[in-house]
Symmetry: C2
Subunit: 256 residues, 2 copies
DNA sequence: ACAAAAGTGTTAACATTACACCCATGA
DNA sequence: TCATGGGTGTAATGTTAACACTTTTGT
């Protein structure tokens, strides 16, 4: 699934200039937010990426911190603006601050082409520290909204993330590592699954996140022994084999 | 152990004004670093705190990010400046960004008393996002260096941390939680122990970090089974009981 | 009856826990 | 020889892993 928006250089240039006009008064300098949005479909773990402006390159959805806004609230806002979703599961997992992390020839070349040589104190010439969050979403409910800088949304398989701008590949890696430990310890699986699901579907999620297979029979018992699943009615699919039970997460394991 | 430095209001005021002169050109705006420095002595887990200027209040050692400096390097520098230590084990664990986290009547009142009413765009009136690191140090090697804002260094037992300025109590809590998981998973114990130690001393460290007792005999076997300890000669203390073996961490468990 | 997938049973290996026991030391 | 703390043994229990076996479904 991908979402496209055509835009001219002129529109882009105007959009960027308009943004910068506002940004200086509105946002905290030097701080950005980046979000790694995980979804799960086709038995694969996916990450939502944006195509950056007129380039062929992708980037993590991100944004800035408003001066009158908590950091966590800013992350929720960025997600709402991009995905249309509220009540999203969000975890801060890393802050990226290498001094040259945003000095990327592709982006600066594009900016130069569009806007000419920027003065040293220009908004885009700031040295940014980026606070990174990961989000777990039910991708069927996501309704991505492109905006001036970004012209295409696309879900990428975690195993096939392209080369991203800036240090965003590193950030995705760290997000995945954190998701792995959180799936183990905080049992956040419910945030990625539909309301009800078969044990096989849940196993596919675990296999996608940990990137290795589990033994079916042992996986089933392990999950049931955690006491966070409720068995519902059977799901008759018309296939010529035993109908699997559907399951549902009973309580939110995070609320305790 | 504590380190004191007497300072007059005049000296403090001049120190602060001198700092501000420099800060604007030197540091990235809106970003601070805070460090939770853990040490271990008297069988207790300790945290190094600074008494803030003329107040009775304590605060975490912190600093600012230079414009030409990686975030991790800044954290190392802050630690070097404060403790005189190099090659310190440092882990980033959290970034604190609530909008009112530094609006603290005590600090702002002190600043007001010393410097008068500050303009809205003054360095100290910035809204800061703080990137937090924890450090593990051999406290016998620490040589704290007070500087203008901070007049006293003191090690506090983790169980007796006073009310700190800003949101620093919250940050210490999060640091301890992270230390607990890192002691389990990354086996960072070596960073807090002397070169050689008895099993009993190591157990006391674990008990201090996890804040609960372990069964002596099982603890011993668990530690030895990890394959990260080397048994040295016995330590004869003159006490009338069996002399305990000394142990040493063989390899750094983090290097793999 | 059969293939295919879901669900349950079983056993060995491994890890954890709770103690009992023995050992070394200096007074 | 006694008290004290250090080190080892062991049996009960709990967890994990591998795989055999049974059940259910539509053709």
């Amino acid at each position: 699934m991908s979402y496209l928006k055509q835009i001219s250089d002129k529109e882009l240039k105007e959009g960027i200039e308009h943004f910068i006009q506002e940004a200086k008064g509105k946002y905290v300098p030097s701080v950005t937010l980046d979000t790694v949005i995980f979804g799960f479909h086709d038995n694969k773990l996916k990450v939502l990426l944006l195509r950056f402006a007129q380039t062929a390159h992708f980037i993590l959805p991100g944004g800035y911190l408003s001066k009158d806004e908590d950091l966590d609230m800013a992350a929720l806002r960025v997600l709402r603006e991009r995905t249309g979703l509220d009540n999203i599961f969000l975890e801060q997992f890393y802050t990226s601050g290498k001094k040259n992390r945003t000095s990327n020839s592709i982006v600066s070349q594009l900016m130069k082409d569009l806007l000419g040589n920027l003065p040293a104190d220009h908004w885009f010439n700031q040295r940014f520290v980026s606070v990174c969050y990961y989000a777990l979403v039910d991708d069927t409910k996501v309704n991505p909204k492109p905006e001036p800088f970004f012209t295409e949304f696309k879900w990428f398989d975690i195993e096939a993330i392209p080369v991203l701008l800036y240090d965003h590949n590193l950030i995705v890696e760290k997000a995945l590592k954190r998701l792995q430990t959180d799936l183990d310890t905080k049992l956040v699986g419910s945030k990625l699954m539909r309301d009800s699901f078969t044990m096989n579907e849940l196993q596919k999620l675990y296999e996608a996140v940990f990137q290795h297979p589990f033994v079916r029979t042992n996986f089933q018992r392990k999950m049931l022994s955690l006491g966070i699943l409720e068995r519902l009615e059977k799901q008759y699919t018309g296939k010529s084999h035993k109908a699997p039970y559907l399951y549902r997460f009973t309580k939110d394991p995070l609320e305790d």
